[in-house]
Symmetry: D2
Subunit: 344 residues, 4 copies
Amino acid sequence: MIRVAVVGATGYTGSELLRLLVVHPHVELAAVTSRTEAGVAVATMFPQLRGHCSLAFCAPDLGQLGECDLVFFATPNGTAMTQVPALLQRGARVIDLAADFRLRDVAVWERWYGMTHACPELLAEAVYGLPELYREAVRTARIVANPGCYPTAVTLGFLPLLDAQVVDLTALIADVKSGASGAGRKASTNLLLAEAGESFKAYSVNGHRHQPEIVQTLAAVAGVQPTLTFVPHLVPMVRGIEATLYAPPVGDDALDLQAIFERRYQHEPFVDVMPPGSHPETRSVRGTNLCRLAVTVPSTSGVVVIQSVIDNLVKGAAGQAVQNMNLMFGYDETCGLCAVALAP
Amino acid sequence: MIRVAVVGATGYTGSELLRLLVVHPHVELAAVTSRTEAGVAVATMFPQLRGHCSLAFCAPDLGQLGECDLVFFATPNGTAMTQVPALLQRGARVIDLAADFRLRDVAVWERWYGMTHACPELLAEAVYGLPELYREAVRTARIVANPGCYPTAVTLGFLPLLDAQVVDLTALIADVKSGASGAGRKASTNLLLAEAGESFKAYSVNGHRHQPEIVQTLAAVAGVQPTLTFVPHLVPMVRGIEATLYAPPVGDDALDLQAIFERRYQHEPFVDVMPPGSHPETRSVRGTNLCRLAVTVPSTSGVVVIQSVIDNLVKGAAGQAVQNMNLMFGYDETCGLCAVALAP
Amino acid sequence: MIRVAVVGATGYTGSELLRLLVVHPHVELAAVTSRTEAGVAVATMFPQLRGHCSLAFCAPDLGQLGECDLVFFATPNGTAMTQVPALLQRGARVIDLAADFRLRDVAVWERWYGMTHACPELLAEAVYGLPELYREAVRTARIVANPGCYPTAVTLGFLPLLDAQVVDLTALIADVKSGASGAGRKASTNLLLAEAGESFKAYSVNGHRHQPEIVQTLAAVAGVQPTLTFVPHLVPMVRGIEATLYAPPVGDDALDLQAIFERRYQHEPFVDVMPPGSHPETRSVRGTNLCRLAVTVPSTSGVVVIQSVIDNLVKGAAGQAVQNMNLMFGYDETCGLCAVALAP
Amino acid sequence: MIRVAVVGATGYTGSELLRLLVVHPHVELAAVTSRTEAGVAVATMFPQLRGHCSLAFCAPDLGQLGECDLVFFATPNGTAMTQVPALLQRGARVIDLAADFRLRDVAVWERWYGMTHACPELLAEAVYGLPELYREAVRTARIVANPGCYPTAVTLGFLPLLDAQVVDLTALIADVKSGASGAGRKASTNLLLAEAGESFKAYSVNGHRHQPEIVQTLAAVAGVQPTLTFVPHLVPMVRGIEATLYAPPVGDDALDLQAIFERRYQHEPFVDVMPPGSHPETRSVRGTNLCRLAVTVPSTSGVVVIQSVIDNLVKGAAGQAVQNMNLMFGYDETCGLCAVALAP
């Protein structure tokens, strides 16, 4: 058993983390913090947790957090970086579900996130928590930067193509679509059901923070800087991300891409390469830590098309965080993450 | 006043056509046909028409149809082509909302639609009813092939780029998304609310019938055959199409694409080029014959990104058909098509 | 032509009013006010109005408003009452879409709305704008209190039963359901798509402000105070209200309730009594000013069950306001309100 | 470990049962039958089961089924009754998720279900599988009639009121609302997303098969026949039932209904009586076997109002079936049913 705290658990990544942690056999939930909700029972704010969690939110206390084995940050961007150094000193390990430790280049981070980084010296140490790429480093990490939701779906889709060096890296396109929970649990007019329901649109076409995160990982794999056009869209549903990825093939067009994908992910517990001709639906991963992929090369154009679906709150956030926790503390990587998707 | 019939009005394009025709000031609705529903009051099947339409469905009768000035076919693919020759002989003009007359190459048509064409000799005469491209030909046409929903959204988005010869035609990508009404009003398990609701997926990645239709039009404009990757998706909503189009620029990158789009569509009553930075939402055109467009070139990649939204049942079907009717009979092109979008 | 202003047009009732007014043949829109958005083009905030409205929001100016023939208030509760007296003095007439003038008993109003009324002396003069009940008074009114959305659906459903004195007034039940736009366009966490989507719940079971408004009208019709249990629910959709009403019958059970309903509403342009066995759907009135009703007496219990559907933003707000405007200025009551419902 | 078969697993209750059974620690899934899909891998039809179930559908075989410890029927009404007698003879026990064994009066059953019952002699033996009422009988039952979804939500809501004899049984009203999955996975035009999405309606107002089932149970508890008005509605969402129940109080109005409810369900693992003032949401039980209840007496009318929410596919079908299985075979009643609800 490890003692675990969740800092800032009033949003969707926080509540989803609680959903997974309260039934995890190796976790003792020591504290759930929220400045604004201190004193309120967690199950009052999140009735779905009635009967599963008797804690109340408490104000964050460095002493208490520092005594935990692991502290999750489910806070807005810019919060974890102010508290992580002190926690590391006290011996706690950290998984940040926000963006504070995702980019290695502090200048890029500060440009996209519009603030000064509080502990740039830790960026090099932080491990990007995509187990399919950095599993071994995660095991011993003190700081895990949990990937963003779009980057998880997009990176897992491009990875085998980059590994196999079979696509033109100067012309990658990621057309991604997310349910509304991806925007977080904040009162925002444009995310009201009456605004975002029964409608569809792109957003942030001119640039989105997840773009440099994806490019950083793809560059690390490919050894060169790729050119990526990344356009996110808002889907009138609650959960789920679908990414449709386009990449022009290079070289031998007799390549068996299906085999390349299956081989790359054959030992991955949470990546499912579906049979040729499949059309993965977001509901087929709802509530699970899975990424389901399909690869197609339409004969009309010859461009490689990858479909990638995840649950943005699970593999795209809280589930991947638990997967990282399992790795960090030597538990079975799939522990607490084996539920079947809720479909329909 | 013209006498008008609607053949096969039990689907969504048919009922939408009725919605528009019953309030059109120059239309006398002479017959609404359906073999299966003959004798049933139209307003019994479509309660939204109570008080607006007192007709009952009748079995199609060539004599009666032939006496109309205009016959709309809102039938499945393959029906109109069996009846159009006889109607033309009797002096009626025709707008087919299905695909029978959309492709000029009968071999291509027969390959994609899986049947033998009944009147290939009429394909050359039929006018593709996209007024923004073929307005003058529509005015005098005997047969108008009303464009498909995806082709309308995609073609209007690419058109100015092709006119201006500013993009690489060998690498066009159209990532398109449609509400469920685009699949028609047929009992199909995979379109049940409990299947398609709260989920998102691509479909027909390997090839979709709207691909050759789009390519035919783009080729006619560009003078060369473009290479297009076209991937449709199903959005958990009822109405609306959003197309996100990607095209690598060629030549002078100081081009003012916003000006190119605004100039191309400055006199078009149903194409709205939105200001730079816009993100058109499908609800902003709901129930209207409008296509709203936005053009962006994200600095991170330099690729041209076009967003295009329409209501699939209006500009993507029935509304465009009424626009064509207005042109064919010399009415104001916007007559009966001036409602404001229903948003929220 | 009349000169009309809309005060506080940044919410849903305001934008819906604009949708109807910009195409109304007898209306010149003189001003659209908003303190917070002054200077912003109306069509920038509401892209659906692009091409239909060239005004910008302006700060409310008593002089300008007072010169209008009619001022609509689409403001939060408590705003209209502070401005109406001055406007009346200047000769303008007023339709308030909020609740300020709906209740005749100022003590009841102040208890439910939690504030002191600014002009209680005008409550007796204000006409409750339900044309099906108070048509003649509306014609000459200076102040029309436009009914609430739930009260419109519920009152029109109960009215014929009360007129005919065929139900027990001590046991009325109204189980009502509304789409999310009924809660207004305000940033509220619990109305986010990710909160209210794919879920259903009752709310305000202990008491809702529309209860005294309904009871006041029913009492005026019945001559006695009825006892009403009123429970509202939130439906995961954008528009529409469905009210299921229950009333135990009294007296002769051979009564033909269908005939009673049809007779009561035979001359009403916006109330549609559907045939026996009907199940009115909210989409059958979407975007229209219609109320569709069905009456049933299930043999298992003998209780009278009324189904009533409206579009909460049209017959439940802006459309009824335009209907009242038509009455006040001697136009055809249905002018500008004849669109067919948008279904699907 | 018990050997278990699921007959007719291509619908929603069947696939939901598989979701629960494949991770149940005491279940060996011996056969999943479907005549129409025989030979197809279960995970091909239900991709959410990929990695969890390697069986293919097989044609039902009496020999194979008879060797199982337990056979679930997730078939249409009228199927189980033709096979159950033979299975009982071979020693298998049965849980029928359809309606074949729910009504004790064969005449009533035949009237509502429109067919002749194949084994009326077994109706008296079958146990109605509502553990909160018939737990002890379920333990030893050979045939469990798993309750309908509406009856579960409604009965659990009324039960404490009937036990305590505090309401007037001649005036019960149940206004119930269900997501679209409640109608099953059959190709039906009126359940298409494009028909049932973004709309709300009542249905079967004149009479629904779940009415006699509810009345039978309430009568058994109360000792007299109650009069119930039962009106179902279709909600534009996938899962979930909300029942709003109305009952006029009788006798002492100082009764503490909250205490009555809490006491009645204090030992029930799957019934959660929420605090006064609560508004249970269907999403708070999504994917779980829970029924959450709230009791209110609005001061304006004094009528008792109960809100009851369940997941129609879990507590309303497959979850309750697993709960019954656990009871029948001596496992912990909550085994395999402890997941936290998926919210948002």
